[in-house]
Assembly symmetry: D3
Homo-oligomer: 136 residues x 6
């Protein structure tokens, strides 16, 4: 079993705001992240797949195809968007990096061909904060 990782980049606006709470409660819990006028990030997304290298190619999976899958199903739908308003996979969810990583997993896990397993989503919100999700 070999693990292959591809990193892609997107940026987006979001806010952390629970509509079931008062404005004051949101301010208290989320601080500056609750700013009603939004803030944003450059996200760095690392997608790891695993499998047996093919004897014909030496590849677990063609990294160009992996890049294209990530771009088609994630980047094109999230990049330069507002996570709370524009992004289908975050509809009705708190726009935390944790929830975004899980939503990206759900979207990508069904897009990989037989013989290639999704292993991990690693998502940087800033260079000093990241989350990882392994599907369970």
């Amino acid at each position: 079993m070999v693990y292959l990782t591809r990193s892609e980049h997107f940026n987006a606006a979001h806010k952390l705001y629970n509509p079931a709470w008062s404005y004051e409660k949101n301010e208290e819990v989320f601080g500056k992240c609750a700013n009603e006028n939004w803030h944003g990030h450059n996200y760095e997304l690392l997608v790891t797949v695993k499998g047996q290298p093919s004897p014909d190619t030496g590849f677990v999976f063609d990294v160009k195809k992996l890049s294209n899958i990530i771009k088609e199903h994630i980047i094109e739908k999230i990049d330069h968007q507002n996570l709370n308003l524009d992004v289908e996979i975050m509809r009705g969810k708190m726009c935390s990096t944790e929830n975004l990583a899980m939503a990206i997993w759900q979207e990508l896990v069904q897009r990989l061909p037989a013989g290639v397993q999704l292993h991990a989503i690693k998502l940087y919100e800033t260079p000093r904060i990241y989350v990882e999700y392994f599907g369970e």
Copy 2:
């Protein structure tokens, strides 16, 4: 003359949108950056000052004080804000990285003590795009 640089971090939402233009013209010129629901970035700000090292301290300027000046006058007013809506120094300006770097220069150049000159503002919008401004 020795040059001293301190890097600080902030993130913000913005859009590129010229109100004198039609929606279509904005879309044509700015593409995804014109998204009316905003997008955002992690900005990395590098501030360079220059001067003669003090014989007493060996410092051009105390880098802790430089950091505090940047935080008080820039980071606290921009971090987790919307550049178009919330940020005084960008009022009435296109929220490009070029204009933001120039506005940061104007704000900081007046905050440094005698003997220390502002030399450069370097502002990363993404890890692959940055602008520099030297005050003229």
Copy 3:
């Protein structure tokens, strides 16, 4: 289960020196790292916690609180210190990066609230050398 990581920075002086050995034996085993006048590093500390994201916040744990815990219990006690002379959690231990990572684990594991588990300590001694500890 989602994993959340926060990175913090500190720097410190140390030496590698086993007092049960002769000066010559220390030189032989630790080379330049045994320099009796000390050397030092910029350490980068990555702390990973794991848990279920809260339905209310989308957070495994508030990363600002995680940062504050790391700063209060680790950074304030280690930053700009001498690991051999000044740092309580290294008292009587060889000041290797391995032992420092384990000591940081012991200190932090008791500081996290219910529902949040410490998963990993990753500690860079230089950009090209790091250790990881998972508590067992």
Copy 4:
């Protein structure tokens, strides 16, 4: 159990080309990577070992010795070489990063002393593509 990682650097030329296939099939599968005149990369190699820190040294393994083992058995034989033509451990194999990581594992696993286990090979082909191999 503590994990210790050392990063080393090499660069090399290679191509992805399956001699059992036609030129056209190679072009179709490998695209630009099949360029018969070769292309190349700066590879970043991270080697992780694990073990119990020694009470005498605080080390899982002397990182200087680990560096020397990697340099003697891998870097000196691969750096500035052509992976397809010059490198013994890739003889008769497709020169994918997956296969190179596995070959480096096979070479290093037999070079470590008792009490130190090889845990992982992580190999960056570009800053945005890497593979990992854990020996099984």
Copy 5:
């Protein structure tokens, strides 16, 4: 005057070999870099332009257009190529990073629109070696 920089990536094979010299002289001067079977690098290319920000857009130059110019005139012709054999702008030249940076300048300087000046080419051969060229 504001300076705008865009970074792009390519990789290539090359060797350093002066055909006017003997094999032994090439070995003596270029060492491993003279390997007749080639070696290669991931190059990071930073292109800096300068100008006055437009009042309409806030841009010195549309960074997306700058990226497209670099990709069309440089990356598509160099990426995954052999600098000595495949690359028109290096024909008849020693394939040093110095010469490659100068050739990239010559190619790009004629591609920019009025009002935008090319300021610098910065070219990383490895993360620890780079050259800069300012056109004179």
Copy 6:
């Protein structure tokens, strides 16, 4: 004129302490940096030279020779040392990064062959703080 930069790494212990001042004054001015038990850093040193590329080699200067000059005259004398106690070029000076960069310039400027000029010393004290010196 082309500029060539080589980056090298060292680490060292130091403190900021002016012996002409009282302990209290040192604490007030230098804060944690005055810790009498020392602290330390991983320094990253970038040395830039400039010149005309040789028609025979394409080089401004052989980067391997530049690396060897830096290692022989700087790294071997500073790495794993105490800047205040062990390092000849800092004798009698405040051990600020500014003064260290200037001392490195003085040491290297006399070591380069004819036709190669020293252009800049850039010295990182931490990833977020650096100084530059151009010799005047």
